[in-house]
């Protein structure tokens, strides 16, 4: 495993084009290293999926982006669409929550999985073998047969595997996974997560894992970035962030997660609902829900800063968490 950066996002601002523009993402920075997984966690409205679209170059027409999105030392934000398209699939691929929406219902699985191989010049028997190899690799049983199936003939888990095979077919260095297991049953979810980990071990792919589910993330992430109302609340190594959060939001989030292995009552959940970027509170966006909020939190927007080596927090009082 190398520490080479596969993706580096710096001060990314995504705003809507309306007369009163809204900063959906407000200065987000994160890194994804080769062979590692960075998880981007946030509740609805935090802007986590928009970040995935921005990296893919698939922002809706009504939004514009500023800042840096760097693939392997190349700034890709602002390069022509044609060059951007060339990066998709070969450099960066994406899988989504709903595998059925990502598949063409009228085409056989094999044809869709083989799309990039065919564009790469493979034909006939070689193409067929390539498709079968890809399907076998993502753990699709009887791949020769399944290659001829239509999407609706497969189960949810197999569909997501087919989508992963499609994503892997171009040999990308970076995989963006946007809630890839949310629509799946728990037993299937576990197998898909295992598969992603295995792919990563074998190929050294970097994964940006976007999720709302702290439990899933805690099993798969090396690094964690916590997003709140379009800003980074906290980031750092996943284990360390989860065991000793340096932001009250992360701490409250971790406490809200219901546990299977221990009987626990829900103890003081965070009041209120997640702030939306369109109506972001002044100062620290979290202050209306924060038990520790003081005067300065209303006035001044805390900048993310390195509190201890490797650990970034955007709380005015992050240091206080250290001796908790």
């Amino acid at each position: 495993m190398t520490d080479k950066l596969a993706l580096s996002v710096r001060d990314l601002v995504v705003s809507t084009d309306a007369d009163a523009p809204v900063r959906i993402l407000d200065g987000v920075s994160l890194d994804v290293r080769s062979g590692r997984t960075t998880a981007l966690i946030g509740e609805s409205g935090s802007g986590k999926s928009i970040l995935g679209s921005a990296v893919m170059g698939l922002l809706p027409d009504t939004m514009s982006a500023q800042g840096e999105i760097v693939f392997d030392d190349r700034q890709v934000l602002g390069i022509p669409e044609r060059q951007r398209r060339a990066l998709r699939g070969r450099w960066v691929a994406m899988i989504f929550q709903d595998p059925l929406a990502a598949l063409n219902p009228s085409q056989r699985i094999g044809r869709q999985v083989g799309e990039l191989l065919r564009r790469g010049g493979l034909r006939g028997k070689a193409l067929e073998e390539g498709v079968v190899r890809l399907l076998a690799r993502v753990g699709v049983p009887r791949p020769e047969e399944r290659a001829h199936a239509f999407p609706h003939q497969l189960s949810g888990g197999l569909r997501q595997r087919a989508v992963i095979a499609m994503a892997l077919s171009g040999g990308p260095r970076l995989l963006i996974a946007d809630e890839p297991t949310t629509a799946l049953d728990v037993t299937v979810q576990k197998r898909i997560l295992d598969l992603l980990a295995e792919m990563q071990r074998d190929d050294g792919i970097a994964i940006l894992f976007i999720s709302h589910d702290l439990r899933v993330v805690s099993h798969i992430a090396d690094d964690l970035v916590v997003l709140y109302a379009g800003r980074v609340a906290e980031s750092g190594p996943a284990r360390s962030v989860l065991s000793k959060p340096l932001h009250p939001y992360t701490r409250a989030l971790a406490r809200s997660v219901p546990s299977v292995s221990a009987a626990s009552a829900v103890s003081d959940p965070i009041p209120g609902t997640a702030a939306s970027p369109a109506a972001r509170p002044s100062g620290c966006a979290f202050h209306p829900r924060c038990p520790l909020a003081r005067e300065i939190c209303r006035r001044e927007t805390p900048q993310p800063r390195e509190v201890v080596p490797g650990r970034v927090s955007a709380c005015h009082f992050a240091e206080e968490f250290l001796d908790d």
Binding site: L5, D11, D17, L59, M63, S64, Q66, Q75, L77, G78
Partner: protein
């Protein structure tokens, strides 16, 4: 990480947006059908006050005058006169009035009957639904205009007969639309919640289903209006529609049929008026439909 200044300069990216001209053109296209239909309505309502016209008076001296000719009374017949010397402008305006009247009455009958029947069948299901579906199947297999001809032919000419004859088939599309919408609305959770609560069925239909059927029904009203106006003209053309003392485009077109080679204007002007109205209501219906599909309840 190397600091490659050129490659890594921060950039601003804008999404593509549709050109201003294209958007302006689209918004003009949205206004055109409504504006033209409004002209028809204004002509039907206020036209008779401005243009005096007696549908039964004849002026043999002025018969078959071409557009722009001067009549014996010294006025100018802008669109010409017909075989009994009546002014074409007056015929068009009174014809518009008739079309609007018949169209409004018939669409009203069709909407009320169709929505009520569709709502009941869709919500109650069971035998009521099976019965309605079969009736709809039969009526669809039967061409609307044939049904209207049979009924209109059986009775004395009159407004009521025409409305009934056209409604007989016209309600079907409203019933079908409402039934379909009701079937899917019935499974929505707020309807289930009301059922679990014990809200009586008529109240559920009225408060939890009907308001959401409205938008597509309005679109259908526009579409059907044109077809019904066309149907009335057809009946009157065949001489089994409205009585002679009511001016109808259909009758005027039929009357001009014999003079097509010598006095084309008698059939052509009401024909254009009719076609334009039908096309515009169709466009309006399509617009309402697509707006409903974009902004409707998912």
């Amino acid at each position: 990480m190397t600091d490659d200044v050129i490659l890594r300069a921060p950039a601003v990216v804008r999404g593509r947006s549709r050109g201003r001209a294209a958007r302006a053109a689209a918004s003009i296209m949205r206004i055109v059908p409504i504006a033209i239909i409004a002209i028809y309505v204004l002509a039907a309502v206020f036209g008779p006050m401005i243009v005096p016209f007696d549908p039964v008076a004849t002026q043999i001296v002025d018969r078959l005058l071409p557009p722009g000719a001067t009549t014996s009374t010294g006025s100018v017949a802008v669109l010409g006169t017909d075989s009994t010397g009546r002014d074409m402008v007056g015929q068009l305006i009174y014809g518009a009035r008739t079309s609007m009247l018949i169209g409004t009455l018939t669409v009203a009958v069709c909407t009320v009957v169709g929505v009520v029947v569709g709502l009941l069948a869709g919500y109650l299901g069971g035998i009521a639904d099976t019965l309605l579906s079969r009736i709809i199947d039969i009526l669809i297999a039967f061409p609307n205009i044939v049904l209207a001809i049979v009924v209109a032919g059986l009775f004395e000419r009159g407004v009521a007969v025409v409305v009934v004859a056209l409604s007989l088939a016209g309600w079907v599309s409203f019933a079908r639309l409402t039934r379909g919408a009701t079937l899917s609305l019935r499974e929505r959770e707020w309807v289930s919640a009301a059922r679990v609560l014990g809200v009586p069925a008529p109240r559920i239909m009225l408060r939890h289903v009907l308001p959401f059927v409205f938008a597509p029904v309005v679109a259908l009203v526009a579409l059907e209006f044109g077809l019904i106006v066309l149907g009335e003209a057809g009946l009157s053309f065949l001489g089994i529609g409205l009585p002679h003392d009511i001016v109808s485009w259909g009758q005027t077109i039929a009357a001009g049929k014999a003079y097509l080679s010598t006095a084309w204007w008698i059939s052509v002007f009401p024909g254009i008026a009719l076609a334009l109205l039908v096309v515009m209501t169709g466009l309006l219906g399509d617009q309402l439909n697509s707006r409903f599909q974009r902004g409707g309840v998912r």
